[in-house]
Subunit: 279 residues, 2 copies
């Protein structure tokens, strides 16, 4: 393509830029953001060709715009930017939640106007900023793309191909199913990791080994970004929390009863699930 | 030393053997176990010099005996083997719980007879067997040693020096304090990881990324070994589970109230604890 615009050049936006540049997928990559230092960093790393603090110049001839901003900002920005783009510009995003974003944009984007399809690359880290960007971040990873009955087939094809060219493989899912699944595979684990981390007194820090470190690693993620994710996916996260709490209650009861067979059965079920994932 | 006997040559016992051999810390390393194939494997990897299925020959001239068997077997074996060793033989172990083992052996080991001091190297993995042994497993890791008022100073000095020579640094703690700390840093995280893993339906496996994998990795541990650990440390594990459940309740309430400030505050507390651990 000719012009790709990345809105928000942090870890994800920066990684998209690096991957696009390395693979020669766009003639110009424009980075749009609010923080000059972050944009400078992204350009110096080769993730973007141009720095933009104002949307008009960043968007006027964009073919594809990828929103890599926090989930509570994506829909507002997309609506605000719609009139600045050529009609038929394709919008997608990298947000960790999909239903609220997709529903809002299907309602509020002008028609004719940009064509939106939601995406979520299942890649990332607890780190922030373009300095942690990685051109291979999407290699071999699943990207969920969430078309609906109202999605333009051209937008879907372009967005699917875009993630595939970055090395991802694409799974299509309805936005609400995506959110229910990600509550279980990502959002609830984050809350549980945070709860665990909080129970550690400073005096016992040096008594942690790889188990504690692995289990709580994602608790180092950015609190503001994650607050927005949890609020966007409240119902599914609450349901997922309840499922984990029920499992923990089963463990507690087996332990209270000193029931070795029940404990082994519960641990065996968990091991079977975990073994199926590989390391 | 002249003769070291390792009881149980799995991941931990095998790693001790490899580390001792590589550093030249013992003239002979005897491996005592129940499974010929495991002992053969340990010998072929160079973790032990001799294979023993019968304790008498393995123990008759041992200076140091390290029990690397499941926590519910250590004390029974140590009592049974006491009469087979020279008096003043030093016994230690690598068990993940300490109070029940130490209390039982202080009560039941004959005097004169072997001198016991409990140990727990904070190293390991969800893997099992000598094929995963690693001579550097203890390098830079903490080993907790748990002397009491009844511990012989010579035994403490020998055992402390032994772990230090394997590359570990030693922290001395009373057995019950060890168990309370390890409930928080290891045993409860294992239960929580297992509970999380169990909530994942097969259809959503491919929607897991590094967050879920890290958070649940330890759930692949051996169910039998962990059942024994949980039963050995029941009270502290139940208390630790309650602390995590209380934290999860705080998260749930903040989410039910859609209280972004409270969510961010809870996540920030967790992040501060996790950041203090390093990666």
């Amino acid at each position: 393509m000719d012009v790709l615009t990345i809105v928000g050049v942090g870890l994800i936006g920066g990684s998209i830029g690096l991957a696009v540049k390395r693979r020669g997928l766009a003639r110009r990559v424009r980075g749009l953001g609010r923080t000059p230092a972050t944009l400078d960093k992204a350009r110096s790393l080769g993730a973007i060709d141009e720095i933009h603090l104002e949307p008009a110049a960043a968007l006027r001839d964009a073919e594809l715009v990828v929103f890599c901003t926090p989930v509570d900002q994506i829909a507002d920005q997309a609506v605000r930017f719609a009139s600045l783009c050529p009609p038929q510009t394709i919008f997608t995003d990298a947000g960790s939640t999909k239903a609220l974003i997709v529903e809002r944009l299907e309602r509020d984007l002008p028609a004719p106007g940009p064509l939106f399809v939601g995406s979520h690359p299942l890649a990332g880290s607890e780190k922030r900023g373009p300095e942690f960007a990685d051109p291979d971040l999407f290699q071999g990873r699943c990207t969920v793309v969430t078309p609906t009955a109202r999605t333009a087939p051209t937008a879907l094809a372009t967005v699917q191909q875009f993630w595939e060219r970055l090395g991802s493989w694409v799974r299509l899912m309805p936005p609400r199913e995506h959110d229910r699944a990600l509550a279980v595979t990502s959002h609830v684990p984050h809350l549980v990791a945070a709860a665990l981390a909080t129970t550690l007194p400073p005096a016992w820090r040096e008594l942690t080994a790889t188990g504690f470190r692995d289990t709580t690693r994602i608790a180092a993620g950015d609190p503001g970004l994650w607050t927005a994710i949890f609020r966007h996916n409240r119902a599914a996260v609450l349901a997922g929390l309840e499922a984990v709490a029920a499992q923990l209650t089963d463990f507690r009861r087996a332990l209270e009863a000193d029931d070795g067979a029940a404990l082994t059965r519960l641990l065996t079920q968990a091991k079977e699930v975990r073994d199926a994932l590989g390391s």
